[in-house]
Chain length 258, copies 2
Amino acid sequence: MASEKNDAVDKPLILVTNDDGVYAPGLRALFTEMQRLGRAVIVAPERDKSAVSHSLTMNRPLRVRQLETDVFTLDGTPTDCVSIGSNKVLERRPDLLVSGINPGVNLGDDISYSGTVSAAIEGTMYAIPSLAFSLSGESPFDFTRAAEFAGKLAARALSSGLPENTLLNVNVPALPGKEIKGIRFTCQGRRIYKNAIQETFDPWGRKHYWIGGGTVHWSGGDTTDEHALRDGYISVTPIHLDLTNHAGIEFLKKQWQF
Amino acid sequence: MASEKNDAVDKPLILVTNDDGVYAPGLRALFTEMQRLGRAVIVAPERDKSAVSHSLTMNRPLRVRQLETDVFTLDGTPTDCVSIGSNKVLERRPDLLVSGINPGVNLGDDISYSGTVSAAIEGTMYAIPSLAFSLSGESPFDFTRAAEFAGKLAARALSSGLPENTLLNVNVPALPGKEIKGIRFTCQGRRIYKNAIQETFDPWGRKHYWIGGGTVHWSGGDTTDEHALRDGYISVTPIHLDLTNHAGIEFLKKQWQF
């Protein structure tokens, strides 16, 4: 569907997606940076699909529309974009997938909800080296520095590769470039929310619950993603597809005899 | 919101949910079995929410409705049901969470898409021992035997506990009870889909893509969930919250020096 230019035959092919929709500035900053590394093609959701996690649309057909040269959109989730993007929109399996840049962090347990990270999980399932990028801070976001770092990390993924069946979840602190202290390879932290459901009422006085707010506590020690970011480092967490608690199998074999 | 009966004070409190909606027969079979073990309360989605993964609804308030004694529904995802169910509907944190019984397996990489499994992930985040149940086969499903096994495993989870930060993903083969050979503690298999996107056209002749179909290949050896099921065993896979590839951190520290 997307036709390769003759002068780009030897360039790496890079699929660019996100969960905030095709017009999100974080996506466009990432796209521009990826165009320096190879041929970059956007396949991104038409609309904001934050917190959709690894949702896959299987109950209806999806339509791909081309908006600009190498910019496509579809009426589905980030996971749909990766599946259809890498199998149908691109003429071959891409050499790299990048997702983001998400306005706001994706840290610890919360990555399980994240559309940004799930797109990279889907890419990894197709054996495409995949990176998810998020930027800390508050709106309005300036993606300039985060995009530069994304470019560096993507170039390194192309040259040095990733651990097998593993994606990288990258979070960049919202600091001026020179205040960023470097990169830390981290593990996923634990976050505990307190009072993260608010009560509200509809115009007829019926109680509703709104998930959000509350206070967040972090645990997991000083090797976590959250800790690195707090210390002013870019956090790079290798996330793998195997969710098995292998030590847990031994626990069960001992404790759960029937 | 749900009031505890006086005669049930010492009974375990069990939250029952699913991704197929509050009227699904697999949910009701599981509910009946859990009522033997303690006080069971359903908080389940109003509608079918299959393949929504770990989606969390944060952009609108959610309304809980009571349908019967100890049966509640809300207009959200399985993850919403667990979050609001365990924090707002139940008067205290439940002793156990069970999700299912899903009509159709949740094996290997596919559990990442699963609403059934994601409900158990959400429960685990709240430190609730959580089990997800799925039954292999085709419609019409007979949940009788699977529900009995769910009862046995749930009783064992209550008495022996689970590995820390770990849920159990349980798949039951669609075999007559006496043909089920036993239980195997397994790891998550790898599945590779081929040609899993179909092309179709709308009434105006425009091409659409429909995710589904194709052929499935499995890998991962004879210790996997898929292999156990194929051999006629109930597969019990411990799944943990920590997605970090810890060995991958060492790889990156060596290969990715900047």
